[in-house]
Amino acid sequence: MLIRKPRHEPASSEITPEAVWQSRREWMARAAMAAAAAGLPAWASRSAFAQSGAELPGRPNPAYSVMDKPTEWKDVTTYNNYYEFGVDKDEPAKYADKLQTRPWTVSVEGEVLRPQTFDIDTLLKLAPLEDRVYRLRCVEGWSMVIPWVGYSLSTLLKQVEPTGNAKYVEFTTVEQRENMPGLRYPVLEWPYVEALRLDEAMHPLALLVFGLYGKVLPNQNGAPMRLAVPWKYGFKSAKSIVRIRLVERQPTSSWMQAAANEYGFYANVNPDVPHPRWSQATERRIGEGGFFTPKRKTLLFNGYADQVASLYQGMDLVANY
């Protein structure tokens, strides 16, 4: 007899045994109570959240992994720039639990032969997930090393078949007014928009990210799907993406709109091109050493020059900051 499995039922191996589930609940409740008693409700929600990270393993891809020591999970998930939840770095971890990441669709549109709206669960299965350890350099002068889980953005872009007119790729972040307290402040023009040149987006290093440290991406890190473009400053890697549009003309990103003299379209990591308000020659690696550890020297293209410098051959990197 042929037994068909219902399509939407998860595999039995994926279901958490009730006893385990129950004990997790109890642990979380106890932790939350202890924290509340200590007058630290913010810590409680954060801690509980950290515990709820579901597994999302990928296959290690050493070809696209750096050897640097990865930054601790706690630092990666509590020190974030995600202004939709507030401009302070601890605010995303405090407030992002409200973000609704299901249902979630991503519309891929514009100069493409086959525009499509993908469900996030379809995207998760579009290609085998890889573990890649990337450096991340924030424009503010600090850096991390993060084990992402995802696959090359080019995999998705090939699915929709860009036309000959497609020259740039624009990414739009979700705008959930109810759940994102930072949207009340006119820090930037919302929704957040970022963009890459098509050849940058097609570069195998440009990663579509679904996870972190073998776990589902925490909301404060840009769940359910974000970019990681390791040779550019962190703000280029848009979070919680809902729309990808291929266009002919160079889009204006949110940061260009806010301060074009400080943030250019390219935003490639470059120690020789200072930000108007600070030098970019050095960086502070989060979690590294003690108070007397000197800052690191920042590397051109964040150390990925061998892979990406050819994209910018003959280009004036000072003028195209």
Binding site: D75, Y79, S279, R284, I286
Partner: protein
């Protein structure tokens, strides 16, 4: 009848001076808090940034407290409160100096060239640096000896504190302008405006 009553309620310089140890402890609380946070994993993922900003904030708070002593003396009719002004000012300098050292050591790695470049090229650092240079001058001339030696010029020199206040707010304002996040500079700036405005109003009267 009101005159003698008011006089009786007036605190003597010695009585006010008795509060100095308490003030000293209060002034060191932010400093002690850093150690407490340090031992309790509370300095965030970027402790250096946290301490740099925290020392700057407390320098500004102490400066505003210092600037509020004179208005308080007048409003409460307690001239003896002046005895608390120097310690408050010196605490502002203490946190300002830590803020300066944080920049010189942690951010610039003790590299004089990099420091000068920062001061020259980046207006928000120029403002902060200028404020610290002025503060140093005031701290160095805060002794009884300097007051006697400088005579009337001492008061003229110490009016620099108003400029220091303005420079500190400008420094914070420009620093926060990158994120269009003006909450802190607006709050501290408003307090400074009240404290300086009160003096100006008194002068114009």
């Amino acid at each position: 009848m009101a005159e003698p009553a008011a006089r009786r309620a007036q605190w003597s310089a010695a009585a006010v001076a008795r509060f100095k140890p308490l003030l000293f402890i209060a002034g060191l609380l932010p400093f002690a808090r850093w150690f407490w946070l340090g031992f309790n994993d509370g300095l965030t993922a970027n402790p250096i940034e946290f301490l740099t900003r925290s020392s700057g904030t407390w320098a500004l708070v102490c400066l505003l407290v210092t600037l509020s002593i004179t208005p308080l003396r007048r409003l409460l009719r307690q001239p003896a409160l002046v005895r608390l002004r120097r310690p408050c000012g010196l605490f502002a300098f203490f946190y300002g100096a830590l803020h300066f050292v944080a920049w010189v050591w942690w951010d610039r790695g003790l590299d004089v060239g990099a420091m000068l470049q920062d001061v020259w090229e980046r207006p928000f650092i120029t403002a902060g640096f200028a404020a610290f240079v002025c503060m140093t001058a005031l701290a160095l001339t805060s002794t009884q000896w300097a007051i006697r030696k400088l005579g009337r010029r001492w008061q003229t020199l110490h009016r620099l504190v108003y400029l220091i206040g303005i420079l500190a707010i400008v420094h914070l304002w420009w620093h926060k302008s990158g994120k269009n996040d003006f909450e802190q500079p607006l709050i501290y700036g408003a307090i400074l405006a009240v404290l300086l405005g009160w003096r100006l109003a008194l002068r114009l009267k």
